[in-house]
């Protein structure tokens, strides 16, 4: 299958006598991409939600990452999609967090009620009791996950990123390093520190 990673390879294909039909190539890309995105999208959403504490913001960054991947990197080998996708996603999360920080600083200078949009106490849904009777075990799991999410948010961004990619997404060290654009040694360090920090925060009872 002809792939166009760079302009040079595009020229090689341009010179080749029998290039693959464009329609067939597009169909193949699309099918592969759809399978990849369908497999990854829910975990990506949850990771973004953990980092951003907001479902709509998480959906936005996931959608943006999907668009950027399909537009700019669909021609890359499919093995590269996952680290690329998570690198785009993490950049989107970081950009959104920066914008929030700037907005928060601006809001402190403006008159009127000072609200913290990121405060968990501000989210009304979290204070609404669930009408459905919850199974105790399920409830405990939910609470444990909430605790874990809070602890993850308290971590430095790189540690949180390393932990989620390695543990939640199941990436190996090399893939994680590619996604985080750092060395494998850095990934190991970030991950190890994250695990110890989380365990220290959550305690032995968790």
């Amino acid at each position: 299958m002809a792939r166009f990673g760079t302009l040079n390879t595009a020229w090689m294909v341009w010179d080749s006598p029998a290039p693959a039909p464009e329609g067939a190539a597009v169909l193949e890309y699309t099918q592969e991409l759809e399978k990849f995105l369908a497999e990854i999208e829910r975990r990506a959403f949850r990771m973004a939600q953990v980092a951003l504490r907001d479902a709509d913001d998480a959906l936005d960054v996931v959608q943006d990452a999907m668009l950027k991947l399909t537009r700019n990197y669909a021609s890359r080998p499919s093995a590269e999609w996952r680290p690329l996708f998570y690198r785009i996603l993490e950049n989107g999360i970081r950009d959104l967090q920066r914008r929030r920080t700037v907005r928060k600083r601006v809001m402190t200078w403006l008159p009127g009620p000072k609200e913290d949009p990121d405060s968990e106490a501000q989210d009304p849904l979290e204070n609404v009791a669930d009408a459905a009777p919850a199974i105790p075990e399920r409830l405990m799991q939910g609470q444990a996950m909430e605790q874990l999410e809070r602890s993850l948010r308290a971590l430095p961004a790189r540690q949180r990123e390393a932990f989620m990619l390695r543990n939640f997404e199941g990436m190996d060290v090399a893939e994680t390093a590619s996604a985080m654009a750092c060395s494998e040694g850095s990934v190991k360090t970030h991950y190890s520190r994250a695990v110890h920090a989380l365990r220290a925060q959550l305690g032995e009872v968790w």
Partner: protein, 132 residues
């Protein structure tokens, strides 16, 4: 904290995360599906254009350079040619004037011939010779 405890922690946190992923509500799932479809649609509509862009950009650049070079090369000669034509036109007009046989110009030599005595008189008056 032992390595075994770390492993247990990792396993549990992974299981909790996976449970939370499985427990996503239909609204979120639906919006993710819509986002995926939109991304794939955007890619499908953009890719032929992007591919064409990649392939045709060098050719378009060469063509543009050729057109520019041709325009520069052709830009000067038309002015030069225009000047040449104008000069030629002027020359033709002069020739026409000289060759024209209308009244005034045709009789100029005759007029000069008729007044030869007057010019001779005028010359002698202006330059009187020594008295004989």
């Amino acid at each position: 904290m032992s390595e075994q405890d770390d492993n247990a922690f990792e396993v549990r946190s992974r299981a909790l995360f996976q449970d939370s992923v499985e427990g996503l509500d239909m609204r979120i799932r639906s919006r993710l599906t819509q986002a995926r479809s939109a991304a794939l649609e955007a890619a499908a509509t953009r890719r032929p254009w992007a591919l064409g862009w990649k392939l045709w950009t060098p050719a378009a650049g060469v063509t543009a350079a050729a057109i520019l070079g041709l325009a520069l090369w052709m830009g000067s000669p038309p002015h030069h040619q225009a000047g040449t034509v104008a000069d030629a036109q002027s020359n033709f007009e002069d020739l026409d004037l000289l060759a024209s046989s209308d009244e005034g110009s045709g009789d100029a030599l005759d007029m000069l011939q008729d007044d030869i005595d007057f010019y001779d008189f005028a010359d002698k008056s202006a330059n009187p010779g020594p008295a004989a």
